[in-house]
Amino acid sequence: MGSIGQPLKRKEDHRFLTGRGKYTDDIVRPNQAYAYFVRSPYAHAKINGIDKAEAEKADGVVAIFTGADLEGIGGVPCGWQIHNKDGTPMAEPPHPALCTDKALFVGDEVAIVIAETKAQAKAAAQLVMVDYEPLPAVSSIKAAIAEGAPLVHADAANNRCFDWHLGEKDPVDAAFAKADHVVEMDVVNNRLVPNAMEPRSAICEYDPSSDMTTLWTTSQNPHLIRLLLGAFVLQIPEHKLRVIAPDVGGGFGSKIYLYAEETVVTWAARKLARPVKWTAERTESFQADAHGRDQIGHARLALDKDGNFLGLHIKNKANMGAYLSTFAPAVPTYLHGTLFAGVYKTPAIYVEVEAVFTNTAPVDAYRGAGRPEATYQLERLVDKAAAQLGMDKIELRRKNMIPKEAFPYQTPVALQYDTGDFIACLDLGLKSADWDGFEARREEAKKRGKLRGIGISTYLEACGIAPSALVGQLGARAGLYESATIRVHPTGSVTVFTGTHSHGQGHETAFAQIVADHFGVDFEAVDIQHGDTSQTAFGMGTYGSRSLAVGGSAIVKAADKVVAKGKKIAAHLLEASEADIEFEDGKFTVKGTDRSKTFGEVALTAYVPHNYPIEEVEPGLEETAFYDPKNFTYPGGCHICELEVDPETGMIEVCNITVADDVGRVINPMIVEGQIHGGVAQGVGQALYEGCIYDDDGQLLTGSYMNYTMPRAADLPMMTVGNHVTPCTHNPVGAKGVGEVGSIGVTPAVINAVVDALSPLGVKDIEMPATPQRVWAAIRAAQG
């Protein structure tokens, strides 16, 4: 029996369960020193001078560096360039690794203090005297675009980063002109702090004898860090810079980017020729990890008298924060605007997005990245349309869904969907959630004094962003392929080197299942290696739910090459023609005979080539492949949330979450379900609990777990996860991606449920997170 499709237990678990995981902060290098960053307490301030004399005299201090010391090295680069409506490039102000003349957000890195111990570095940091001259700050989108607003960057007029659009305006105007109904709403997509449980950390060691720099860092994509850090910032050639992302304790996007801290730590370790280590405190994570979401927008939907969608106009504003993080410009644009067709056959769509700078932490991709914002806006709008037109919200969705016969389906916003069956997912979801039985449950809850609501979202998302040629045209400064090397050892065991990175996703298990089945070898005979630039050919890392669809496909491609070479060897051993060799279940067989050689025998022959077609093939059995996808993949489905509101306190209890997704072919159902559970928890978190708040002066009011609500075990119910598979048509794995579906699909379902629960009281909308106080206030406002 093959292992694909089996819920095999994870290979990585034993080390994590026994405390043997190796995370960056666990790494200790001889003679290492510790770093602590001096950070700006102001959201916007001129730095008139920095006096480090006192601090330099403090116990254990090795060195203190400021922006002035870094003169000559590059700033932290942005990896994606967006163009304005008029074709001009976006504003792209510099991001010095340490502040020079100005600090632009609370937590901005002003100086690095390096000492013998962590405590000494922290104590000395308090003695660094920075002469700040506080300046007026803009801490929200609204403040940034207000007339006469202070400028975050002198050369970004009106605090504008870009003004972008997608789709055609004229057909949309025409749709609205002939519409019987127009539904519109303002939507806020709340700002989030990613909060991977492992805080960011970096340790760098420089070996002068080999001129080799080794950086261990909490990264989702070590090769990208090497490229940006080496080529763009510190001018270290790739062969002299090794980046290792060991075990990484969650990322959710926040560990994709090149950050100032790892940049400065690397520079300092080289300068001092001594290992330097930095690990963030959670307070620093709140201040300086790239945040997520933070959009405001207005959406208008045109419908005919029967409820058919005619056109959609989106006009949104996105917060970029103080500097452009690595992929920030792609998030509210190509990862967002392209999603507005959703699962619907809306014929005309026009999306406008203006991005602004503010005196807040940089904002970049966070689990879902642009797609949750689009999905939330669309699915709230559809619910509102149903209410406004007096139509059933399920029937309105069903009527407008792209039927399965319509694939491949070209949307008006660039994407071409290859496959899907949205109605099947909808029906599966409705059945699993017992949608039809809801009213009885609502009545029962009413008797207990609770307002019960049910909400649905039918959605689609785009994963495995590609192909490279296209994303290049869209502004990406990198390719988006993946690599894999398969090393078959002489006795037939296998090591696979992948350019993706696993930080919870279970690649070491799922990828091994693919390879084991491909070669017909035991699952235990396959090891997956990742995270070290000195081992893997190249890699683009893990984000955007790309690893299985793109990285897995590269592995299949490399495996095909291994088999092709194996056939040549087997043909020689079996004295048959290569064309007559078939490979199945781990055996190379001469077609129509019982003459065969096992995979292991062929591998051994490749390494002990005594009887070998040496003129035709080289010894050894190792192949590398690069895979550049032809298209995005399109997972989607239906999420349903049922909850109860305590009308006296505004407290919400989530009762049920039902998921009916199509994530394409499933390799390990246990891991797939786990990914959905986790994504759903974060999606519910956005809807009900999490909200990052800066005050008008740019001070972070939610800077710790004391006031930023992380979903806990008691805040979530058990989840019901169903799956309706339509395999991806254009990659060899058939997988679509699962990492982000939860955080994309569930959020609007939750808010739709809240509004459904409160609608008998006259509540029509509620802002996220729907905290108890907000719910209480909404009820009060509705009741006058």
Binding site: M197, R712, A714, M718
Partner: protein
């Protein structure tokens, strides 16, 4: 100050500064890096260890307070190459993803079953108040605890 602490059944005597947190002692002095630090406000529970058999947050206890006491960390659970039933249950039920919160989760739920051999789902969820996981949505962690409780019943 000199402290003598029994860590994972080994008596250890060291000189520490009074301000040394127990977690820094465990990770830094003893290189037992299975115990993690995930926050600075005593909430995430990644640093959970047992002191005299009870779960505590080692980021909110000084090493000097542990003087004369017994500390058990995640590294102590596996015996003779066999996972502790709670570790095995987490593996069986996929109760972990990135693994960072996992040692704290395991130590905390080991303590739960000491107090309540057969907890209900709400009791498990309430007990986990002091442990934050960002990966699993807690679904499979709760399942793992249930699985372990059912397996250890009567044992």
């Amino acid at each position: 100050m000199q402290v003598t602490i029994t860590v994972n059944n080994r008596s250890i005597t060291r000189d520490v500064e009074a301000r040394t947190l127990l977690v820094d002692f465990i990770r830094g002095e003893l290189a037992l890096t299975g115990t993690h630090v995930g926050c600075d406000t005593s909430q995430c529970g990644a640093c959970t260890v047992l002191v005299d058999g009870k779960s505590i947050k080692s980021c909110t206890m000084l090493a000097v307070e542990a003087d004369g006491h017994e500390v058990s960390t995640i590294e102590s659970l596996e015996k003779n190459g066999e996972l502790h039933p709670m570790q095995a249950a987490f593996r069986e039920c996929h109760g972990l993803q990135c693994g960072f919160c996992t040692p704290g989760m395991v130590m905390s739920t080991v303590d739960l079953l000491q107090n309540n051999a057969n907890p209900s789902e709400p009791e498990i969820r309430e007990w986990l108040e002091g442990n934050i996981c960002r990966c699993t949505g807690y679904h499979n962690i709760v399942k793992a605890v249930q699985h372990c409780a059912s397996g250890t019943k009567g044992a």
